[in-house]
Subunit: 347 residues, 2 copies
Amino acid sequence: MTDGPTITTIAQRAGVSIASVSRVLNGLPTREDTVRRVMRAADELGYVPNSVARSLRNRRTDQIAFAMADIGNPVYVAMVREIQPALKEAGYRLLIHSTDGDADDELGVLRGLRERYVDGLIISPLRGVTEEHVEAIVAARAPVVVIGALPEHMPEGALVDNVRTDSRAGVRLALDHLYAIGRRRIGFLNGPLDTVPGAARAAAYREALGALGLPYDEDLVEVGDFYRDSGARAARALLAREPEVDALMCANDLIALGALDVLREQGRDVPGDVAVVGMDDTDLASVTWPTLTSVSLGSAERGRAAAGLLLDRLQNGPREPRVVVVRPSLTVRGSTAVPGGRAGGAG
Amino acid sequence: MTDGPTITTIAQRAGVSIASVSRVLNGLPTREDTVRRVMRAADELGYVPNSVARSLRNRRTDQIAFAMADIGNPVYVAMVREIQPALKEAGYRLLIHSTDGDADDELGVLRGLRERYVDGLIISPLRGVTEEHVEAIVAARAPVVVIGALPEHMPEGALVDNVRTDSRAGVRLALDHLYAIGRRRIGFLNGPLDTVPGAARAAAYREALGALGLPYDEDLVEVGDFYRDSGARAARALLAREPEVDALMCANDLIALGALDVLREQGRDVPGDVAVVGMDDTDLASVTWPTLTSVSLGSAERGRAAAGLLLDRLQNGPREPRVVVVRPSLTVRGSTAVPGGRAGGAG
DNA sequence: ATGAATGCTGTAAACGTTTACTGCCGGGTG
DNA sequence: CACCCGGCAGTAAACGTTTACAGCATTCAT
């Protein structure tokens, strides 16, 4: 009564052994009569199998974890939105680990794989895959998909697929676009250099300027965090130091939001005086005013790919690690809507 | 090697029984010498306890689920952001069920409680708590917290706490504000009437108008979905039918976004010509232009409260069901920033 | 009528823990 | 010296499944 029926309860009521009960419930060939008796008893008792016991015996939990820095970040929300239905479809439950950018937490999740509470993991390490990450992945002996950059050489035993985006190409798209609409003094508001995206975007900015024949000027670069208020601070500093900038390349949409705040506050027209480009192309980009031109790094697509790779591994067994690269694209909106000249902004 | 060490492996290596191993690992009083031997063996083997086996034996999984309609909705994101750290702090993992507003899915989660894969559940049923929900909750015999309205009378066995907000009061806050800044023809863009929030807000709108001595005019009301494009459609329809509206009360921020799109497109000044108020006070509200005055229904607070109630139950055992009511508040921003008159908008 | 083959069913072990219970050993007490 | 008690450790059962294996009827062929 208080403790819920088990197959033993059913077996007693139906007058058969627990083995028969199990077989019936799992649809294994059984005599018609036995099937009826067991089904009847199970129905009457309102039996529901205990998933923990089943997991212990089957050595699988039908659970998959997704670990990222911050569930409040629209990029990760976009990924979760793709991952969750894909997993549900395949009969897996989803566990969420929001690590708050805490590296120890992140490693904790990875090491926790050895507790076998999930069958696989999708992880997006904020500060890249360190030696320790690799060790934990090897020790895990459960499939892992990393969203983001992976070290050049992974050891043999690392069962790890990889989904990445070419943020270098993304930055180039943005700078090409700004160049095309006539901008020559292009500031750069970046996130922390010790994060993977931060470092990659810094290098890409420099490289893209070179390709366009523009000089790299340290005074045009400001480093902060990937948040709105930090973006505002950075924009303020940059505009004070270099009032002549005619475009701001922002390392993500939140930074761009902060920049827009400051530009509005200072009465500078966007994009007339200063054009602004964000990155990630989150939902926010179509909400701002003017709407924000942004480089899409395919968050949704990356989420979908990661789920696909993991499920493939779980369903079809071991295989060579795979890498999926998602191509960035540029969505032009109001904040750069000045084809060739310097007119008022549009939505 | 391939299968990971268990306490049996440790016991052999340390030359003790598995009981002693377990005792040492759980910090139960044990002879100094035994402790050392076991610890040493565990270290050398890189032992990690199997959480599934532990769950089976302990009859607890240290997992909690949160079920809501759509993880893409900022309201739920805000809740998750509060729930996740609270659970982590208490040693619980978080499972996410995004039901896509599918009622069967929602019931599935509730019924799934009987599989005992989680120790408790926080659920925010989109269309209210039906008879079937109640049945499932009673059958669950695991603590449940419902965010949203609960039926008047719950049966004895229902282990359910409740967190709700007073959206009636929220709507009143908004209408009082609009009235105070001189608006008299206040349109209402609502969500589906068969959702709990939709129905509540419809009633509240009517009631609040009455309290202000304003007539209820069906032509001023438009019903759609809780999404941006639906909000835009509704706004277009309403403005076409009633060009004289001087304010739009929107049943959530996304609808308000759509309304702002349409007003801008039609060249109507916000808040000069039409003031706009949203609901939920999501992150979006401070991003739009003009920024959006919005009624906060305390999403974060509700999430925190729900986690608190559930953890309390899990840690301190059964007690009388509790109800927490979160008071709404109004955050005034640009979209209504016209104290008493009809001047240009500000941020 | 006997043997093998066929088709179900039941017994028991296993998954990896925790813990009640029993038993052993040593020391203190009468 | 006998007894008891305390402190530890080991045996075994239990959590709720799944499944290998053995066994039993029944059927069929010879």
